[in-house]
């Protein structure tokens, strides 16, 4: 690889890479505002100026150069710490503050603001700009966003994103000189499904998410890497939580999956993940309040009996044993929000406990949900949102579960009433099947998180964890295996589905004692099969391809 020298330190670069890009890969930070790896380069903020003492041919450049836009060259020597370069960075940042309101105490970006961070790096803490600043006011610009133009530092990221990646041209540049303003046309409101990215892109608090404003100071957040469960793309996310409450979901860079982006459906998913006793739960949101399942229940057909986990499992064990001994028919339904580990244990329970292979899941047809506007060069963003609204269809298929189109197909596949029906998650929740279940099974055991049609009709209800509370893995639509881990702790009486399935196996005298999903994956990886060789640690935060598949 060719090399250049940054303050005498060798930095490798790929042909065509700019100085800043190569420095980024080498882990050397050059301050920047306008540059973003996902956007076209405009080199306009001038924050990344460096001194080029040697262009690689023995000659230096008299002027400082924008490192974000200057291609690296063999044997180039540059400095970001020379007096000239430092002085330029300092003054550019000082200029950046000339018309900035410095309202950090009431700004939601504070704590994760490029301007604030870089000002702390270079600023003197004393202003020499004692004149009235530009005031341009706030605007409501979309269903998801607020624009506070006073804070804008004119980096044009929002304009470039809207123009080059979404193609909706929502943002435009108005006026000139210090009155330049980035704004929408007239009272146009942004309605596309990628709005949240604008708030992420904006290096300051000029564009903020409504959902996030005035909720929490950014520096208090605990950041947990996760995977979005809103569709089969499996975008990488960060769950931002504080004191067991998730405040925000943001995209996490993964060049193989979502690059830097996340759709708005994925972002608002956090609303359903917070658990408040009795008041909200998965699926909860404006106009839809479904309580979180908090207690295990064994119902004598309609009447709940409260015995706690021990009581419920103790009462359940003989029922399972009886059916197993009599070789009664048993089936299971799972949705593909379940992790690979849960599906694997469920499959084991069915096969080893009851000798059954009747394990079905609702198959959602996957294809890109959106079509990019004509003429858009880079249509990546539009490939993100998939019609398969679950994160683990590929995992279920890899484990050999049978995908079925709908309730009718299920009735056919069951081939008559079964003795026991195990239900993991909420398959076909909105279809009448859940209500009809008494015609299909004698005993329905439900493992889930939210109160819904299944929890109402099931005979046994075993509360589990959401994907924000447990370890596990999903396989996305491109056969990438990605891991999740707990961001918050679950309701006290809920139990990891993996643990519950182990208990059910135990009730049938099968050895199964996995602490959590990581353990199960280790077992899966150790055995022959689609996951051979994988384990939770090895997956890392970027995921690994499903062995044997692309």
């Amino acid at each position: 690889m060719p090399t250049f020298y940054l303050d005498d330190q060798p930095v490798d670069f790929k042909q065509g890479e700019t100085l800043l890009q190569a420095a980024d890969r080498a882990g050397i930070y050059i301050p920047r505002y306008c540059y973003h790896p996902g956007l076209k380069i405009t080199a306009q903020c001038r924050m990344c100026l460096v001194e080029i003492t040697d262009m690689g041919n023995g000659r230096g450049m008299p002027r400082l150069q924008a490192s974000c836009a200057t291609p690296a060259a063999e044997n180039m020597r540059i400095s970001i710490t020379s007096e000239k370069a430092l002085n330029a960075q300092k003054t550019v940042n000082e200029f950046q503050l000339v018309n900035h309101p410095l309202d950090c105490p009431i700004c939601d970006q504070a704590g994760e603001c490029d301007l604030q961070d870089i000002s702390f790096l270079y600023g003197t803490g004393r202003s020499e700009m004692n004149y009235e600043k530009r005031v341009s006011g706030n605007r409501d610009v979309g269903t998801f966003l607020m624009l506070e133009r006073n804070r804008c530092i004119q980096c044009s990221r929002c304009e470039r994103f809207s123009r080059d990646l979404v193609g909706t041209h929502d943002f435009a540049v108005f006026n000139r000189s210090h009155e330049v303003s980035f704004d929408t046309y007239g009272d146009h409101r942004i309605v596309h499904r990628f709005q949240g990215n604008l708030a992420d892109l904006c290096p300051v608090g000029a564009i903020t998410q409504r959902d996030w404003r005035f909720r929490k100071r950014a520096w208090k957040l605990k950041k947990t890497p996760g995977v979005c469960t809103t569709c089969s793309t499996g975008c990488n996310i960060t769950l931002d939580s504080h004191q067991n409450h998730i405040y925000r979901i943001s995209p996490r860079e993964n060049l193989q999956v979502n690059r830097w982006w996340l759709c708005d459906e994925g972002r608002i998913n956090f609303r359903g993940l917070n658990y408040h006793p009795g008041s909200s739960g998965p699926g909860a949101g404006p106009g839809k309040k479904t309580p979180r399942l908090e207690e295990p229940q064994l119902k004598a057909r309609g009447k709940a009996r409260d015995g706690g986990w021990d009581g419920v499992l103790e009462a359940l064990a003989p029922l399972l044993k009886e059916v197993a001994a009599a070789k009664g028919s048993v089936a299971a339904l799972a949705d593909t929000h379940a992790t690979n580990e849960e599906l694997f244990l469920l499959k084991t329970l069915l096969a080893e406990g009851f000798g059954s292979d009747k394990l079905f899941f609702p198959l959602q047809k996957g294809k890109a949900e959106l079509r990019a506007p004509a003429g858009l060069e880079d249509t990546f963003l539009y490939s993100l949102i998939n019609t398969d609204k679950s994160p683990n269809t590929a995992g279920a298929q890899a484990l050999g579960l049978k995908g079925l189109d709908g309730p009718d197909a299920l009735k056919g596949a069951l081939g008559g009433k079964v003795k026991i029906m195990l239900v993991l998650g909420s398959p076909w929740e909105d279809d009448p099947i859940a209500g009809d279940i008494s015609t299909l099974a004698d005993l329905v055991i439900y493992l889930g998180v939210g109160g819904n049609a299944w929890s109402k009709t099931a005979d046994v209800v075993l509360p589990g964890f959401t994907h924000a509370e447990k370890y596990g893995s999903f396989v996305n639509r491109n056969n990438l295996v990605q891991r999740i881990r707990p961001a918050i702790s679950p309701p006290p009486q809920a139990r990891d589905q993996v643990r519950t399935l182990c208990s059910l196996l135990g009730a049938l005298d099968r050895e199964a004692n996995h602490a959590d999903g990581r353990d199960v994956l280790a077992a899966l990886g150790a055995a022959e099969g689609p996951f051979k060789g994988l384990n939770w640690e090895a997956l890392g935060d970027g995921g690994m391809p499903l062995p044997g598949k692309g």
Partner: protein, 423 residues
């Protein structure tokens, strides 16, 4: 008494010159075009035309003084997948400059002949002429001259039987100084907001609509017919070492006879003011001059006994720029001049680069303090620091154009600033 050296203004200085195609031809016009495209004299290849311009040493008259012939060689000689473009910069918004306007209004065909030759040299089949939109009459004037050329088949297809096709389009600008900067001009021409582009790529690699493009000033192109008619040596003989030919100087300000004058490159700067401008009006003394438009640093009378050309004015600490000589008498307030200058630059900054956008705003406020007699030594230093921090740190040369003169006011006339200190 010094005389004008007439090369571009020969027709204009002829009494009763009608400036239409017939008059231009009667005065020997379109001979160069015939020499290049016509059969009678054997013709010239595009490369030969470029070579002649290169040998003449002609430097761009738009401000930067870049060698014109050299710039032309950056273009692909044999455009295949993408067309080549020559675009004439007639935006002329540098304060104090009015020589392109003078040429276009009074002898449009001289420039048009140069433009056609330029297009031929660059294998360009569609040229654009970008003229500032405020001057609609100028646009009509040039359009009319172009109509005349089409009528006489000097434009269109197969010009003079040479097989060379060329169309010319006049495009009105939309009122921004920055659209004179060549890449902002290209954006404006493409129908976008006129904002300078980051270079590279340079226009010769990817310019108008992403195609190889050369932008030339009106006056630059107007010199080409002379070079073709008389040979590059005749042109190179004029002027000083490295600054060949004649130049149009727009003299304005406190002189008796403001106007456009044509002199050889390297003509004495003082003589320009005294012999052509007629000296400072009203018997007042000369206080200062700005030698090359608002973006060039101010000079004191003591330092102006120098040749007026790109290199000499540069050596004297300023710039010849677009040849706009502004003269100020002893009653001029340098602070007020600085104030006007920075208000102009602040108003005209396109606003994409931080130093230019915020620096001009800050400077405007700082100078305002001096206007209000609230200056101080500290503020003077701050003006110098802020202006200096814009210099060289921006995408386009506007940053230098705004920063350098603002530093110069305080450096050259510190006593004028001190007069406005808070007492």
């Amino acid at each position: 008494m010094a005389q004008e050296k007439l090369l571009l203004l020969k027709n204009i200085r002829t009494k009763g010159y009608a400036a239409d195609l017939a008059a231009y031809r009667a005065a020997g016009g379109y001979k160069a075009l015939e020499k290049v495209l016509g059969k009678s004299q054997g013709g010239m290849t595009p490369a030969q035309v470029t070579e002649a311009v290169k040998a003449s040493g002609l430097r761009g008259r738009g401000g930067a003084g870049f060698p014109c012939g050299l710039k032309w060689t950056f273009m692909p000689a044999d455009p295949k997948d993408k067309p080549n473009y020559l675009i004439c910069n007639g935006d002329e918004s540098e304060p104090g400059t009015f020589k392109d306007h003078y040429l276009l209004m009074n002898d449009p065909h001289l420039f048009l002949e140069g433009m056609i030759l330029g297009c031929y040299a660059l294998s360009c089949h569609h040229g654009y002429i970008y003229i500032r939109g405020e001057s609609m009459y100028l646009i009509h004037r040039v359009r009319k001259a172009i109509d005349e050329l089409y009528a006489e088949k000097l434009l269109g297809s197969n010009i003079l039987g040479s097989g060379f096709d060329l169309d010319l389009t006049v495009h009105p600008g939309a009122g921004a100084y920055i659209c004179g900067e060549e890449t902002a001009l290209l954006d404006s021409l493409e129908g976008k907001r006129g904002q300078p582009r980051f270079k590279p790529p340079f226009p010769a690699q990817a310019g108008f609509n992403g195609c190889p493009t050369t932008v030339n000033n009106v006056e630059t192109l107007a010199n080409v017919p002379f070079i073709i008619n008389n040979g590059p040596e005749a042109f190179a003989k004029l002027g000083t070492e490295g600054n060949s030919g004649t130049q149009l100087v727009s003299i304005s300000g406190h002189v008796q006879k403001p106007g456009v004058y044509e002199v050889e490159m390297g003509h004495n700067l003082k003589s320009l003011i005294e012999d052509f401008g007629g000296g400072v009006r009203g018997g007042l003394k000369l206080k200062a001059i700005i030698p090359g438009g608002a973006s060039s640093p101010i000079m004191r009378p003591e330092s102006i006994d120098i040749p007026y050309d790109f290199d000499s004015v540069m050596k004297a600490g300023s710039m010849r720029g677009s040849g706009a000589l502004m003269v100020f008498d002893e009653d001029t307030s340098i602070i007020e001049l600085a104030n006007r200058t920075i208000r102009f630059f602040n108003h005209e900054s396109c606003g994409q680069c931080t130093p230019c956008r915020e620096g001009t705003f800050w400077l405007k406020n700082l100078i305002r303090d001096f206007v209000d007699n609230a200056g101080s030594e500290e503020l003077m230093q701050r003006v110098d620091r802020v202006a200096g921090s814009i210099l060289g740190n921006t995408i386009c040369a506007f940053g230098d154009a705004a920063g350098a003169p603002m530093q110069a006011f305080g450096r050259v006339f510190p006593e004028e600033f001190r007069k406005h200190f808070l007492r």
